[in-house]
């Protein structure tokens, strides 16, 4: 934990911005976050935008802990994921419940991003379908629905009951593939979100929910209640961005990013121009190579610091584990248990303690790196050949010399193998840092997955793979320094 504090101090040295907006890991959230960030910058506030904060748990924890001041959320999500409510909750009740946690909820931003069913406009016209009730009268239509929608109680099972849908032609399909299947006529109907960029591109008809089945996912801002005092102008900007973005605007903004491959910042600029008039600024984000270099540098920094800390803590832990059976079992069980904690769960636990950004990412990677190092140190020390172990005990060496001059050097090949394993795993796992605003090569990967943009994924994946190879190669060279020459001879055990 000493190391953890050290890391915290290290990462905390950068001067903090006065106001921070967060966003989740999908384009609509980025655009809304960037729109507010631009509004703040225009108002002269020192602004930071933490993009790509994992799922609702992570970003909400970040808000409660004060790591961010505001982020865009949806009423349906607040009800289900944050308040764990069974039935519908009125906006007033929602506001009251959130206020008890120190969180305020703005008025609606102006659009609903809920579930809906959609058809190609032309196909809908031919079948004469405008509403879900119309759909129920056309059982010959084929429904290709996402697996999540098929499984959720507020998805297809409830919908089928409410509208007495009788179609037998219902298939599960990957959401990303549904649009292609729709366009080629293999399916007639699919589930969408009401602000999907594809609505405009494929000229989809969103079927009217005439019996009011789907819960509302009205976009709102969730903000810390102390923001108004700390930064009144920031709170005013949030006010200005409520009630001004309707579905059509949001669909166009999403399409600029998802289909047009423009950046969230550019799309946010255009959105602000639509709302407040005026010209939108040009792109200002540096070249491809600059962004790759920046992400790679950040990635390497995260890996190096967490690995170094894991070595400094893991080797002594391994030595301690090798000393006594009881302590050894406890240490190995403890580090083994850490390894089984899913990374997202670990991040969600770390955020209330350490906020978001680089620090919790470093700590998570540090914890994940421990096991191979501790275990290999332990195994290396406890499996020394019997004659050598006896010789080391019979010579009358001081405990210090026995450990540092004999046993650790003899165990060094095993220890280095553990460090190497940790390093290579670490390079891969560090992509998760992007989920909590830690940056690195996970950023383009995460964005690419959201945008179904292979080029963007490769911008992160290729450098990450090269980095893993390079790290492996680097450690092969390091072996020559860390493992005594006598142990690298072909006949070392003669």
């Amino acid at each position: 934990m000493l190391t953890a504090l050290l890391l915290a101090a290290l990462a905390a040295q950068a001067p903090g911005p006065t106001v921070t907006v967060g966003s989740k890991a999908f384009p609509e959230s980025w655009i809304l976050g960037e729109t507010l960030a631009e509004e703040w910058r225009a108002a002269g506030l020192a602004t930071a935008h933490r993009m790509n904060l994992g799922g609702t748990e992570i970003v909400y924890q970040a808000l409660r802990s004060g790591a961010i001041d505001v982020y865009p959320e949806y009423t349906g999500t607040i009800q289900e994921v944050i308040l764990h409510a069974q039935g519908p909750v009125s906006p007033e009740a929602m506001r009251d419940a959130l206020r008890r946690e120190g969180i305020g909820m703005s008025g609606p931003i102006g659009f609903n991003d809920g579930y809906a069913l959609a058809m190609l406009g032309a196909r809908a016209d031919r079948s004469g379908v405008r509403t879900l009730s119309d759909l129920a009268r056309q059982p010959e239509l084929t429904l290709g629905l996402s697996h999540e929608f098929l499984g959720r109680s507020d998805g297809f099972p409830g919908l089928r009951r409410r509208y007495a849908l009788s179609s037998s032609r219902v298939f599960g399909i990957q959401h990303e593939l549904a649009y292609g299947a729709l366009a080629s006529g293999q399916i007639d109907v699919t589930d969408i979100y009401t602000t999907d960029a594809e609505i405009e591109r494929l000229r989809l008809r969103v079927l009217e929910d005439d019996r009011g089945f789907f819960p509302r996912y009205d976009a709102v801002w969730l903000y810390r209640l102390d923001l108004g005092q700390r930064a009144p102008r920031a709170a005013q900007a949030i006010e200005r961005l409520t009630g001004v973005i309707d579905e059509a605007r949001m669909i166009r903004a999403n399409a600029r990013v998802v289909i047009g491959h423009r950046s969230a910042r550019e799309s946010a600029d255009s959105l602000r121009a639509e709302i407040f008039g005026g010209r939108s600024r040009g792109p200002a984000e540096g070249t491809l190579w600059q962004s790759i270099a920046r992400n790679t540098g950040q990635h390497l920094k995260i890996v190096a610091i967490s690995l170094l800390a894991a070595v400094l803590v893991g080797v002594p832990l391994g030595i301690a584990a090798a000393r006594s059976a009881i302590l050894g079992n406890a240490i190995l069980a403890g580090t083994g248990l850490l390894q089984t904690v899913p990374s997202l769960a670990l991040l969600a636990v770390l955020i209330p303690l350490f906020g978001i950004g680089v620090v919790p990412a470093l700590i998570a990677l540090f914890l994940y790196s421990l096991l191979p190092i501790v275990r290999n140190t332990y195994v290396g020390l406890t499996t020394l050949s019997h004659p050598l172990e006896e010789a080391s005990r019979a010579l009358g060496l001081s405990p210090r010399a026995r450990l540092f001059r004999v046993r650790l050097p003899l165990a060094s090949p095993a220890i280095m193998a553990g460090v190497k394993t940790s390093a290579v795993i670490n390079v891969g796992t560090a992509t998760l840092a992007a989920l909590i605003g830690g940056g690195g090569l996970g950023e383009p990967i995460l964005a690419g997955i959201q945008l179904r943009h292979a080029g963007l994924i490769l911008q992160g994946a290729i450098p990450a793979a090269l980095l893993a190879l390079l790290v492996q190669r680097g450690f092969d060279l390091l072996d020559r320094l860390a493992i005594p020459k006598g142990l690298r001879l072909p006949a070392a055990r003669g």
Binding site: P387, L388, E390, A391, S392, R393, A394, L395, G396, L397, S398, A401, R405, V406, P409, L410, S412, P484, K485, G486, L487, L489, P490, A491, A492, R493, G494
Partner: protein, 259 residues
């Protein structure tokens, strides 16, 4: 068999050791006079290596006492006694990550010896063991079996200990190298006059190197005496059969006949 009080070597009383309830060693009394060589011999599993491990402090006895040079072996005195004892095992136990020279100097350096003192002592030992100085910078993996055992002997003698414990030091060597080293060991023993306890399974080697031989069977000493004594009057059929089974002894029997 009484030991003069002026020169205590090793004094063992009521020593018992068992592994998981199986008795491995049971010695009521065993004394080794200072500056004499005792060979421990017997079939495998007779407890001879166990005895050596108890004396060097690698094992703790279930009961009984071991005194070395008048000092009781206890956890508190173990390290000090180990420093006064040189120990060589079958494969030498040289550390593969250290060169020959580093292996030899390891304990002296830990004891804070100066570089000059270490170098001076190393030169003395090179003379004694007839090892070529060119071999010292090599790693154990680059040395032959015989060279390794010479380095191991140097390491054991570095601090000029009063006692040497050798656990089948030559068993892994081929016969030619082995007889060379036997000759060298004998000259080292004669020149240094240390208290030596060595384990072997070779009666000829024991007779050649040791002042006295103790024959062990199932953890007990069945007979102890000078080599000739054992040959002339084996204490029981086991000793007689054990001696007969050792082929190299033919040479020694002839030598005996001439006496």
């Amino acid at each position: 068999m009484a030991v003069p009080a002026s020169e205590p070597g090793v004094e063992i009383r009521d020593l018992r050791k068992s592994y998981n309830g199986t008795p491995a060693l049971s010695i009521d009394e065993l004394d080794v006079r200072a500056s004499t060589t005792l060979a421990l011999i017997g079939p495998s599993g007779c407890g001879k290596s166990t005895l050596l491990r108890l004396v060097i402090g690698l094992l703790a006895p279930d009961q009984g006492s071991i005194r070395i040079g008048g000092v009781d072996l206890t956890p508190a005195t173990r390290r000090a006694l180990q420093l006064r004892t040189g120990y060589v095992i079958q494969e030498g136990g040289l550390f593969p990550h250290l060169t020959g020279a580093e292996n030899v100097a390891l304990v002296a350096r830990d004891q804070g010896w100066t570089r000059e003192r270490i170098e001076r002592r190393t030169r003395e030992l090179l003379d004694l063991t007839q090892l070529s100085p060119d071999l010292l910078p090599r790693y154990p993996g680059e040395l032959s079996g015989g060279q390794r055992q010479r380095v191991a002997l140097m390491r054991a003698l570095m601090l000029d200990p009063e006692m040497l414990l050798l656990d089948e030091p030559l068993a892994a060597l081929d016969p030619m190298v082995r007889s060379d080293l036997q000759r060298e060991l004998k000259s080292v023993f004669e020149r240094l006059r240390k208290t030596v306890l060595f384990v072997t399974h070779d009666m000829g080697e024991a007779g050649y190197l040791a002042d006295e031989i103790a024959i062990l069977r199932a953890g007990r000493i069945v007979q102890r005496g000078a080599p000739r004594e054992l040959l002339r009057s084996p204490a029981d059929p086991f000793v007689a059969a054990f001696i007969r089974a050792q082929r190299p002894l033919g040479a020694m029997a002839e030598e005996l006949d001439r006496c």
